[in-house]
């Protein structure tokens, strides 16, 4: 999945991208996304759209909540978007953990298997309402992650066997372990269990939102869930995600230590001008 995320970053890049996202061959690209909930949901949606339209991949998108609105504008971000390509994305609205497990387990029955499986808000399936207490039982999260891993591994074999160049099958899961003080340990434990099965982590943190222009900005960190050997060099990749008031999205790669965000006043002026152009 990290490879598809890189396609997303490049697809919506505001300038040239000079550095590849590259992990050692033994690091599987299945990814856990955590951090800002709204931004994660947008990123998952962009990943689904990019995989379906640019790469022509079949996508299965599991979520409990239908998309009614998004912070991002697809029309504004993807000029010339072919809506028929979105038919490659199948949304599955499983309501309970049992339904979700059965839906994932049945993917091997499909004649045309997906190359990308996306799970939005996994902790909702683990019976945790937003803001509710964390479950202390580690087995359900391990079961879900292991089933996804085993399913993706099997579908990869199928896709390779068919020689359609649609493989491997990857999966991406968003998970929000943020919690109040005493539950920090439980949240860390759940995340550590998830990261046994998903070897790439994508962390999203909001840098600032501008109430005047409506522009929002996040930092996106992409790294392996285990330390890489020193000779590999880069341990993490950083990007800046900007959503303008028009809903247009752009990613900018950040080099280590680079202060990518301009001064506040400049941002506002520049954004207002740019956004006015988008709206006109």
């Amino acid at each position: 999945m990290a490879d598809i995320l890189e396609v997303v970053f490049r697809r919506f890049a505001s300038g040239p991208v000079t550095r590849d996202v590259r992990f050692p061959p033994d690091v599987e690209s299945n990814t856990v996304v955590h951090g800002d909930r709204d931004c994660s949901r947008c990123l998952l949606f962009l990943a689904a759209v990019t995989a379906a339209t640019d790469l022509g991949l079949k996508v299965v998108f599991f979520t409990q909540t239908p998309f009614e609105s998004l912070q991002v504008s697809l029309r504004g971000s993807v000029p010339g978007l072919k809506l028929e390509a979105l038919k490659n994305v199948k949304f599955v609205y499983a309501k309970t953990l049992e339904e979700f497990l059965e839906d994932v387990a049945s993917l091997h029955e499909l004649d045309s298997p997906p190359s990308l499986i996306i799970v939005d808000d996994l902790d909702r399936y683990l019976h945790r309402p937003i803001g509710g207490p964390l479950q202390d039982d580690l087995s359900p999260v391990a079961h879900v992650a292991a089933l996804l891993h085993d399913t993706a591994a099997f579908l990869t074999q199928i896709l390779h066997g068919r020689g359609e160049n649609k493989g491997p099958c990857r999966f991406i899961v968003s998970f929000y372990p943020e919690c109040d003080g005493g539950e920090t340990h439980a949240a860390d434990l759940l995340l550590s269990v998830l990261e046994r099965y998903l070897q790439v982590r994508c962390t999203l943190g909001e840098v600032r939102g501008d109430g005047v222009t409506g522009r929002k900005e996040w930092r996106v960190y992409l790294s392996a869930t285990r330390p890489l050997q020193d000779q590999w060099g880069i341990q993490a990749w950083q990007w800046c995600l900007v959503v303008r008031s028009s809903g247009a999205v752009e990613f900018r790669p950040l080099i280590d230590g680079e202060q990518e965000i301009p001064e506040e006043q400049n941002i506002s002026r520049e954004d207002v001008e740019t956004d006015n152009k988008h709206l006109s």
Partner: protein, 140 residues
């Protein structure tokens, strides 16, 4: 639990597969190595292997999964591509305490596969879906 120990475990399974295929026996040095890497659950797992408690379930789609009949009579479903078992020992010793590589059921599945001692069972694709999602465990 480090990936180095996991590599050692995988090498042990390869050695076991090669040796057992030729001699139908497990030499003492391999037994000692298994006990060293996996602790007390090595003997418990070998006991499960000896009782032919591990079943390799396959369906027409080609999907494969292992089912291990535990000492209590409960059936545990273990996946073939990664380490997971629904038993309490896996949850506690492997996931929470990270003091073991695997539980006795997972180890029994790995050993049975290496030694070619799995029972074989064919099910339909729909039945496989139920097995994978854990519904058959809930019914046992």
């Amino acid at each position: 639990m480090g990936s180095c120990l996991l590599s050692v475990a995988e090498q042990l399974f390869k050695d076991l597969q090669r040796t057992y295929t030729q001699t139908k026996q497990i030499p003492d040095d391999l037994l000692i190595a298994l006990r060293f890497v996996f602790g007390p659950c090595a003997l418990q797992a070998l006991d499960l292997v000896e009782k032919h408690s591990v079943k390799c379930v396959t369906s027409p789609s080609g999907r494969t999964v292992f089912q291990v009949l535990g000492g209590s009579g409960r059936l545990y479903t273990c996946y073939s591509s990664c380490h997971y078992c629904p038993c309490p020992a896996f949850s506690f010793s492997v996931l929470r305490r990270t003091e073991s590589l695997m539980c006795k059921h997972l180890l029994a599945a790995c050993l049975s596969q290496a030694m070619g001692l799995c029972q074989q069972e064919q099910v339909s694709d729909q039945q496989m879906t139920h097995v994978l999602s854990g519904q058959t465990e809930a019914n046992t």
